[in-house]
Every structure is written in C-alpha cells, then in structure tokens.
Symmetry: C2
C-alpha cells in the first residue's frame, strides 16, 4: 500500500530519496523514541519533543491535561516528525557534506481520544514504544491518572518518508583532484547499563526486557 | 546572562526542569547534530530536520535556494528545537515512566543572510557543528555553490531550556509495594568506524578530526 502524494508530501528536493511504501513509514516510526511535534500557536510554529506510539494507521501522543500544547492541539493541524541520524557524510567539498538519515513527516489534524478502549490501546502503544515490556511489567494507570492524561490521535493518512544512505556525492573534479579523505562516519544510538533508582529495594533484579534491550 | 522569560518560554509544566542561564542554552545547542525546525505553511505546521550552527547569539540554518521551506521562511516566524535523549526512565508505574533529556527551544523570526562575510561565518558554523575540522580540511564553497545556498539567521533572543535527569519519581505507595525494578536505561549516541567512500583513491588516511571524533 502506497503513501499519499499531496502537495505537502511531494518532495521538491532530492526526490530520489523519497520512499512511498507504507512499510517504510512504519519502519521509521516503529524504531524511534522521540517525535518532534509541530503546532501553531498565535500564528507562530512551536516544536516540542515527546514520546509517541503507533497502532495500525494511527499515531498517538499524550500529555498532561494541564499542558497548554495539548489543549491547543484539540482538532488542530499538527505535524509529527521522527528522524533517525545514521551518519555524517564527509565529502571532499564543504558543499557536498551531508547526513545519512531516515525521516518520516506526518501531516494531519489531531483528534482528542475519549473512548476508554482507544485510550487504553493508545497508552499501551506509547508505553511500548518508549519501553517495550513495561505495559505488562509496570503498574497500569488508575482512573485518577487516566483523568489527568490527554490522548491525541493523528491519522497516518498524509505522510512522507525520506532516506539518505551511502557515501558522499562529490563533484568529479573534486574526486579527480584527490588528496582528501571522503566517506561516512556512522552515528549509532545504543543503551548503557541500567542504573537502579536510589529508592529501589535490594533483591530486585533488572528484568530481561530492560537488561536485554538493544537499540 | 539569563534567558528571556516570555509567554512562549515560560514553562507551565515541570517548571523545576527549566534552565535560565544562557550557558545552558549554548551547551544544548553546541552538542547537537540535528535541529527540528518548525514553520507555518498555509496555516499548518511543518517540522523539518536539518543541520544548524551557532555563532555568538545567532543560530544559522541553510538550504538550497530551490527549497520551498527556505523561501517560506524569509522573515517568517520559526521555531528551532534541539533535543538530546539521555535515558529511558522506567518507573514502577506506567504513568511515571519518563525520559531524561536536554532540550532547547528557540522562537524567533528568520532573517535572510545576504552579507558575504556573515554568509561565510554562518556556513563555517554550520559545517563545524556537523563535522568539526571540515572547514579547514575540505574544499571551500565556490561562488556558484554560494549562489545556490540560502542562509537564514535566527536571533537567540527568545529561548527556553528544559532538562530532566535522575531516576524515576514513583508514588510512595508504588515504592512501598515493592517487587518492581525502577531506574534509568541510559541512551548514548556514538560514532562508529569511518567508512571510506567507494571512489576514494588508495593511500589517503582518515584524518585525525574524523578518526578521533567522539560523541
């Protein structure tokens, strides 16, 4: 199934980097940890980092009911961007320096989630995106906690995916001139050793879903 | 010197995570690689990932003169957000799960840079942010390349910095209940081994500024 092509998702620069398969969108979203969420307040853009989750063709965000951005987003246009940086591309020329990356940009209007069943699956998706295994290991939300949480949905109906990979694209004359190294310095995200909380009682081992987590 | 406090930069949630020293803003910006840049197009937000640089109290962005976002940003309101994810905070409850992070959010209007001297220092700042050492090692931009590049400036006049660190903040009853691990899984960004370009001639060693780069 292909992604939509609209005036907002059609790539005007480096169209060869575009990916139009829905599986590519899922791949970028499902391996991310932080989304950068754009909204408009008083005519100006605001970009906030936050966790997110996906269930089928819906992306979910959540926040405190006291958060101004969450109130501002009810039914409002929103842009959700998830970016993976994979490498620094060192070219022979400054001009051809670049980055290798995978990026998904979702455009839509946010919808306030009020159905208890959808709220539950949305919070599960957000929790499992941030911390796979936590939904079955940790204590689940109480009614009071649910009442303090705003959940917003964005349909994955209009989105673009852009990927750059591979080495530098130097000009032929720069390659011919020789003498300068050119290539890619990979950028990797990984997890360190788990650090127990200061208030953790003795005798509680790090569970496997945290101990064995890989980036 | 302190950061401004305006309606846009005043934190309404977790104000204790705010940092108001300008040095904190520089620290977040100067160690980042990708900014998420928000603009408004046809009334809707758009969030794009891109490289950036800082020189004094000015943040610089650049793009192709053919890029629609760059044209849309001339003199327009912009939001530039740089986020470092430092850890996944596993709490005993799903509700208290969180992230450790450092985030800077800059609000302003973008200004088209036309002065050749400022263009030069802006491109140097952007290059050195992405790839320290490249400005003196790589071939510098030609007049034709400069003509194909749009440079935009954003004053660092209105910005907020938010930092979360440390362990989970569980409810006392969840701590007392015991039996669940709680703590932080650190998230680290690092560089892998440099990968030479396919068109690199033999005999060109990886220069020290790339070989010895640390995250």
């Amino acid at each position: 199934m292909s992604l939509s092509s609209t005036s907002r998702t059609r790539l005007t620069r480096h169209a060869e980097r575009g990916r139009t398969d829905r599986a590519d969108l899922y791949a970028v979203l499902d391996t991310g940890l932080v989304a950068h969420v754009g909204l408009v307040r008083d005519g100006a853009p605001v970009v906030l980092p936050m966790g997110y989750g996906r269930a089928g063709d819906t992306l979910y965000l959540h926040g405190s009911t006291g958060a101004g951005w969450a109130r501002a987003l009810h039914g409002a246009p929103v842009c959700v961007t998830v970016t993976h940086l994979d490498g620094i591309v060192y070219a022979r020329s400054v001009f051809d320096h670049s980055m290798n990356y995978r990026c998904a940009i979702v455009h839509g209007e946010s919808r306030l989630v009020t159905d208890p069943g959808e709220t539950d699956s949305a919070l599960k998706a957000i929790t499992e995106q941030l911390s796979p295994g936590s939904w079955s290991y940790a204590r689940l939300p109480t009614k009071r906690e649910l009442a303090a949480t705003t959940v917003l949905a964005v349909d994955l109906a209009e989105a673009s995916v852009k990927v750059r990979s591979g080495g530098p694209g130097d000009e032929p004359e720069d390659v011919a001139a020789g003498g300068r190294w050119a290539g890619v310095l990979p950028v990797q995200t990984s997890f360190g050793a788990p650090e127990p909380g200061l208030d953790l009682e003795t005798g509680v081992d790090v569970p496997a879903h945290i101990r064995d987590r890989r980036g």
